[in-house]
């Protein structure tokens, strides 16, 4: 067996499958930094996946499909933001509702539109760096042989890291999650910042979903994400809401999953079920090793007690 080829395939698949995860997770992290715990990520990913797929099918353009998915995600994220921040809805409740509604609606519409047929998108897409792939074994094709969206996605994550770390906007988002009164007192609209953060989070989750259906799979099926949204939430916390850390963790998660498949091909006689455990046990171990002293954004809607609506600078905004 060609070990090199297998390792390349595992690496390539791990990196590609990490894309929807890291996009959604980064989005969730941005939202949580702003104090919004969005359990609706799974639903938003599905909405993005379905929209992206449908647009791609209609326009015969993968790029437009991805944009469509992102747009749908933006919309959903904005609705979540407005719901929580302006209307004062309970974040957990609204998020769970989004997950159920998103999953149900996309499955329902898919059945209505396509019935028992399974349309597929063309799998070919440009691979801009393919020529570089030859130069390094394993890492070469794994990293450089990917389709173009792969690089766009990682660029976006990199951009998110920059924005959160270096820009005023990023600072505002983080401040709103830590101490809304302080932001309020300075005269910055807490509402606007949070809604924007929620929209961005939704956008990224939608793009992640579209990435899955349009780029990675080339088709949509009801519940195609199979819990990826919840894993994204978990990784956002594990990665301390920092995009670069999340990126590393997502890659490791993907690699551990691939390792499970790869090990099945060896002579080692372990049950496939136990091998599937690797990534999940890995997360727990990582948490135990690094999780102590994990400081969450102070105003993250964690307890069931609802966060008060932030009112503009009348001085009466309260925090729990």
């Amino acid at each position: 067996m060609n070990i090199e080829a297998v390792m390349t395939a595992i690496l390539s698949a791990a990196l590609l499958s990490a894309v929807p995860l890291v996009l959604a997770s980064t989005g969730e992290a941005i939202g949580e930094r702003a104090g919004l715990l969005n359990l609706g990520t799974e639903g938003i990913m599905l909405v993005g996946a379905f929209s992206g797929f449908w647009v791609s099918l209609r326009t015969e353009s993968l790029a437009l499909g991805l944009l469509g998915g992102a747009a749908a995600g933006c919309l959903a994220g904005a609705l979540f933001g407005i719901g929580c921040v302006v209307i004062g809805a309970d974040q957990v409740l609204l998020g769970l509702g989004l997950t159920l509604a998103g999953g149900g609606l996309t499955a329902f519409l898919f059945r209505e539109l396509f019935g028992s047929s399974q349309p597929l998108l063309p799998t070919s897409a440009g691979r801009p760096f393919n020529t570089l792939a030859e130069h390094l074994p394993v890492i070469g094709p794994g990293v450089f042989g990917q389709k173009w969206f792969f690089y766009v996605a990682w660029l976006i994550v990199f951009g998110a890291e920059l924005v959160m770390r270096r820009t005023t906007f990023g600072l505002r988002i983080r401040a709103v999650g830590e101490s809304p009164q302080a932001v309020d007192a300075v005269g910055i609209s807490v509402t606007r910042t949070q809604c924007l953060a929620a929209t961005i989070a939704g956008c990224l989750a939608g793009l992640g979903g579209a990435g899955l259906s349009v780029m990675e799979l080339g088709f949509f099926q009801p519940n195609v994400t199979l819990g990826l949204g919840f894993i994204a939430i978990a990784l956002a916390m594990l990665g301390r809401w920092t995009p670069w850390r999340i990126a590393v963790i997502a890659i490791m998660f993907g690699l551990l999953r691939g390792l499970g498949s790869g090990l099945q091909l060896t002579r080692w006689d372990v049950s496939p079920d136990l091998l599937q455990l690797l990534p999940y046990v890995g997360v727990i171990v990582a948490l135990i090793l690094t999780g102590k002293g994990l400081r969450m954004p102070s105003a993250l809607g964690q307890t069931y007690a609802q966060r008060r609506r932030r009112r503009p600078a009348t001085g009466s905004a309260t925090q729990e």
């Binding site: 067996m1 595992i10 698949a13 799998t123 799979l217 099926q221």
Partner: protein
Amino acid sequence: MKRCVSTVLMIVLLAFPSLHIAMAQADIDRVAIITPASRTNQAWDQQGVDNLTAAGEELGIDVEVAENAGYEDITPILQDLVDDGSDLLVCHASGYQTVCPEFAESSGVPVVVIENPGAVQEGLVADIETQAQEAAYLAGVLAGLETKTGTVAIVVTGEPPTWNYMTVGFAEGLHSVKPDAKLLYNSIGEGSYDDAAGAKRVTETVLAAGADIVFGQGDGAAWGMIQAIRDHNEQHADAPAKFIDVIGDKSDSEAKDFLLTSVLFDYTATYLQLIDDLEQGTFGSVVTMNVENNGVRLLEPEIDVSEENWAQVQETREKIVSGDITVSAIGDADGVHNRLKELFPDS
């Protein structure tokens, strides 16, 4: 006078068997099928539904479909179907093999189960045994003859008995024509019937490991395998990989360019026979689908396969029918692992 009338009646009935059947047929107006997943998944569930629908059309009988029933207790669904007038219930999942006989006993409505011959009861419970391993053996033979790289992969979405039987059959068939082949076996995950993303990843891995024929057992997830092969073939147009499907016929889809064959499950004739049994009063036995009665068979390839190879497959089929070849029937996961190790110790 009475004796005269009954004699005449007897003569009439004997002379006109169709009348007899017509009288019996009045009993069966509606049959129902219960499937765990969606009837549109182009696989296990859809096949059962489509076949029963076809049988129903032929006989002029109504067919009710209760899909997405999952693995919860389906007793109330069964009751609901009976309340709606179903005379026969087809429980189309091995996970239903306990609850359906129990329902038949308590309600008196006959049921059909799969893979549970011990549950058979006269007039109440019939069992369908699918000797899919026989057809899978033929698929293995074809794979062994067609592989250019010498590496063949089996990718499964979990290890339920239905898949396990076919895995072993396939491996034995492959071994019979190419004992030095490299057989790769990979399970995507427990119950991963819909994990298309996982299926794509795993298929990519086995393709990278050199497999040029993939025997894929999955429902919705099979499309992930198909996409992986499509992708691969675009990148390696000189050495394309081929796919062997199970249960259904995907030759109208984008997979047609590389669909070598499929281990088809055709329940239509079986359903017709079961309904007939019920009408005749002989219901309640084990009905087998095998290569002899074409209940399971190989889809004829639409892509290029040499005449000799296909002829050899047909010969093998004859040998199975005649009993010269017996294919092992191993349904449990551990048994599968052990048998694969026996056949291909170096894989």
